[in-house]
Symmetry: D2
Subunit: 369 residues, 4 copies
Amino acid sequence: MGSSFGKNINVSIFGQSHSASIGVVIDGLPAGHRIDLEKLGQFMSRRAPGRNEYSTQRSESDTPVILSGLKDGVLCGAPFAAVIKNTDAVSRDYSEVSDKPRPGHADFTAQMKYNGTQDYSGGGHFSGRLTAPLCIAGGIMLQLLEEEGIKVGAHICEIAGVRDFSFDPVNVSEEDFDRLRASSFPVNDPEAGEIMKSAISAAKKAGDSVGGVIECAAIGLPAGVGDPMFDGMENMIACTVFAIPAVKGIEFGSGFTGSRSMGSANNDPFTWENGMIRTLTNNHGGILGGITSGMPLIFRVSIKPTPSISIEQETVSFSAKEKTKISIKGRHDPCIVPRAIPCVESAASLAIYDSLLGSRIHRKGENNR
Amino acid sequence: MGSSFGKNINVSIFGQSHSASIGVVIDGLPAGHRIDLEKLGQFMSRRAPGRNEYSTQRSESDTPVILSGLKDGVLCGAPFAAVIKNTDAVSRDYSEVSDKPRPGHADFTAQMKYNGTQDYSGGGHFSGRLTAPLCIAGGIMLQLLEEEGIKVGAHICEIAGVRDFSFDPVNVSEEDFDRLRASSFPVNDPEAGEIMKSAISAAKKAGDSVGGVIECAAIGLPAGVGDPMFDGMENMIACTVFAIPAVKGIEFGSGFTGSRSMGSANNDPFTWENGMIRTLTNNHGGILGGITSGMPLIFRVSIKPTPSISIEQETVSFSAKEKTKISIKGRHDPCIVPRAIPCVESAASLAIYDSLLGSRIHRKGENNR
Amino acid sequence: MGSSFGKNINVSIFGQSHSASIGVVIDGLPAGHRIDLEKLGQFMSRRAPGRNEYSTQRSESDTPVILSGLKDGVLCGAPFAAVIKNTDAVSRDYSEVSDKPRPGHADFTAQMKYNGTQDYSGGGHFSGRLTAPLCIAGGIMLQLLEEEGIKVGAHICEIAGVRDFSFDPVNVSEEDFDRLRASSFPVNDPEAGEIMKSAISAAKKAGDSVGGVIECAAIGLPAGVGDPMFDGMENMIACTVFAIPAVKGIEFGSGFTGSRSMGSANNDPFTWENGMIRTLTNNHGGILGGITSGMPLIFRVSIKPTPSISIEQETVSFSAKEKTKISIKGRHDPCIVPRAIPCVESAASLAIYDSLLGSRIHRKGENNR
Amino acid sequence: MGSSFGKNINVSIFGQSHSASIGVVIDGLPAGHRIDLEKLGQFMSRRAPGRNEYSTQRSESDTPVILSGLKDGVLCGAPFAAVIKNTDAVSRDYSEVSDKPRPGHADFTAQMKYNGTQDYSGGGHFSGRLTAPLCIAGGIMLQLLEEEGIKVGAHICEIAGVRDFSFDPVNVSEEDFDRLRASSFPVNDPEAGEIMKSAISAAKKAGDSVGGVIECAAIGLPAGVGDPMFDGMENMIACTVFAIPAVKGIEFGSGFTGSRSMGSANNDPFTWENGMIRTLTNNHGGILGGITSGMPLIFRVSIKPTPSISIEQETVSFSAKEKTKISIKGRHDPCIVPRAIPCVESAASLAIYDSLLGSRIHRKGENNR
């Protein structure tokens, strides 16, 4: 059941790299919200392949077709369903994979789990292509969050070890997000961005790949959202973010760095500001005890180098039961980080919106409908 | 519903720092397994307070009382329930907290979520004390995993920035775990351990605190456990590990470091070894596509410095609606890392065992009962 | 995981007939509501054994001990946990059962499911005794529902085929409920009640038992609660009501009888009444499309005759692998229907309150906390 | 989230009567099973409209298009997704409904839940049309159950109060199912069938409708499937069966009738038969304590008379806030019972297959994958 998510909504993602379609069903969305399909398309285009020189040339249009859930453009209470047709699939590129697992991919583990009946072509259900329906869901959530005054944004924080300026954890703003969203290579420090691009180009030339770190923030979140223990904001966001292939780590606020400081430095002092309680610093990343503090929610995600590289690698043959070599052909991103940004925003928005709905349940003294 | 976990089992944790009891119910455990209560008690004692000079002096016996679920010491199919009585609670220590949120604690966010009706005393349900029932559950799971040949172990990887030797990611062994389990300050490098201890002592003297990193591994896991996307091993482990207060980050395998390397270096080549497919390196941390590879499952968790410090800190008064100061009295660990080790093992074992049960569902060609 | 229930709350029931304790944890209750423990005790006493000549003489006090979840008598957001000690257990009464399954009981099916490791004593987790923690949860829910102006009540609708007057489906009132709640044998038609009692006495004398039907209603429910398809009010109530041992059927509104009428007779015409839309009749039992209509929610539940009878019955011996006889000794209700009434009310209130919480999520245009 | 079902699988149904498509996603199916799409089509055709004189003339082809989840016709572990295009929708037939709720339909309750933003056209998500994707899921489950030797069948038990012969609860056989499946009006007693048909014709002529009862059985189920309390087979089947519009009641085994008999008559004596434990009678309907006994699982479902009738009915106008009349035009079944049979089989198979998967988890002493 791994491809379904949600406590208060049920997001169910389906499809394989080369199945007829890929898509998503979202059950449990509140009725009455207008969905801007053009805006959704723009959001989707940020992860679409073939967008610049650093991304695979596979040129799916990736336009979601809405199957249900809207009445005259408005969420009508029925489950929302949308699909994307797979039109540009080239199955033959992957024929070798059925016998030789690609290092760093799920080919081997899927073989073990499904006893060889999995759809190996293009990575099947484990393909990065499945982040497209994740982004459909995310694009919807981002619109719903925006209606509540909540914005989510992200930037390339690091590629190949080259660092971008971090968000100001106390003052990250909507303007930051707008600026980043307008860029096809969203960084805060353009100079660092140029060095990153060079590193990607060098890796591409070498038939190799690089990874990086994405920093994501949500602002406008009210205090008091999230649950204790297993359903805290950190748990929920980690749960959705690790659904993105290539993610291998996540940290909130000061994260691993904070674990090296003293309590007196890492604790964020409370203060009054315009009649509201805020913290002077934001090492807690907007979350204490799993619950939002009203400060910007901030986390960073590590993205491993794209496992598909054209350099020859050692692997095994399932059939021959011996070692062999593999050299991955086909179209691959030498660095997945830029295209992963809307995916991280999507994952975050799923977790945040689900938690926000959950927080409605527990308001005391409220009348019911 | 944050205090419940599980897809195939339902672990429900209850209690507050100063409620009559704290405890856990585990629904869905397979019947027929003998539980060694003495072994469970030994495991619990690893997180018990008052164990050494670096931990709080609160001296609860922390002995779990079994209420149900066993028949003659064997799991009988009925939900397992156990409680620990809160005998040594000193509520007056915390009276100030009802009005002044402690920086770095959940006092403020709980106040916002529950509108002041939360049990603020001792941190209520957000107290580190609630990791005791987590460890009851974990102790049970570890025994069940052991029956399947799966072992889980952890060590202090870092305290106050001082690093221990990491596990050998390819060859971490049961002997490593046994050695670590026998130690009250489990490190691989005794010299580093001494420096860490000095750092803790210095922090204690200064009324301050330090944090660190815990590295945890599971060995003996078969390949093929875990689900795609949202229920992958990474998602599930992150979901349970962030239930431990003070955890702010997690990374699997090469994690954030791996995101700085090249694909050719980070990909783990496959090979045949004794008739099985293994990888020569283990940057993937035993998980590819959310599914176990059969290699050691390895992750690291960042623990923030204990937020309770006696140094005076800035905070606010809810009632006076103005800034004030707080100086936290009472008994607190200057470093929570050593006591957090069995908690991390517990969290990991919950996620792993739940996933293992789930993997039983999807074995093709098996007869049903 | 069968002993856990809920979409928006998590109710986890534990215990066996003769375990140290039985109890319940409820995770996800809104904070801030005062719980009247005396009222809870009164509610519990309605199902307590040993209450009149028709019920088993086992005289547990059945007083729930609250372990957590309250702060000064008010729900504090932490999971609510309560237990009842098993003090009057007489294990020897059931020794025969380990080898000879009692007809009509779960002894045999539990043996098959748990391979003989189940706690057979007193029926273990399948014992009617486990409805005590169900009633703790139900008693809490009923208080929370009452705060929303929602009342739940039930009466003996039929025993041994003798019928009571049904509720007036359009006008069932709080006064009806108050009157019924005050009676130890709650019927609308006292004459029918006397005949029922004679039937029970006759069955008891014969070492036999009788069953019956309970009718339950909820009033004050707003229109619009419940979800389509699988989470409709009917689905949810059926899901909780079948948790009561001995329940074998449920029907809503006109139910099976309605299936024999014409559409023109069974459809309920809409009308305006005091500025609200109501129906003139209530064959739909207050639910259309799974969602409440604002009319009284009405359902009936069939209770099979108590399977424990002292008349000798045919059964098998697991060990001897042959047919044998069994004659059930010990203390048993010749008719479980009266004591099942608070259980049915509890089951209904669980489903209704969970759905009510869920309906809060989907209010458009509401601000979040 | 009402349109999703499952503990071990996640079935997510989407669509409205007049949305672009309707469909279903099933996550969590075991990989490796071949799906016979022709057989699925045949099963679907049993509920298709326009099949005989008693059903609506809407002539959708209702052929499911598979979007994902199969690799060369075999379940590949990825979520299974299929859609049916809505081609024959005539929206204008329903324009009146937006203001005048049809008695017996969900128009009013949906209006209350979704504040008028619901898709009222054709009943939207509450339309009987949504049982088509339910039958896609059911058709898949029936094939998977068949691989385990489990068969599910059903017959018209009653229409307009006219009774068919019941299944022999001890000896219902695959031959019974085959015979019934071959008939477009599946009854055990052809004479009763003719009288039922006359009743339907008479109702049709009068612009009215009739309801009935469906009896469903599952054979070949091993003993030991199902969980205690809330996840018993009765709970699960009730949960899926009430997802079918028009279902208002369900009873298992002797059900309501059994509640009128004595314990000595209703209890089913155990016996040995060919080395297996069976019961001589089957008043328990194959379920004791929520768990299968290995005897035929039998239940009956009440179906209310089709609420869509052309006879003029009283209703209200939302806009005018006053009483008015409605006369429902368009194409409607005077009796939904025959077409509901595959829906009941589907609902049963969903619940049974999910429980069967769950039972795999709890086999002690089994090796994991």
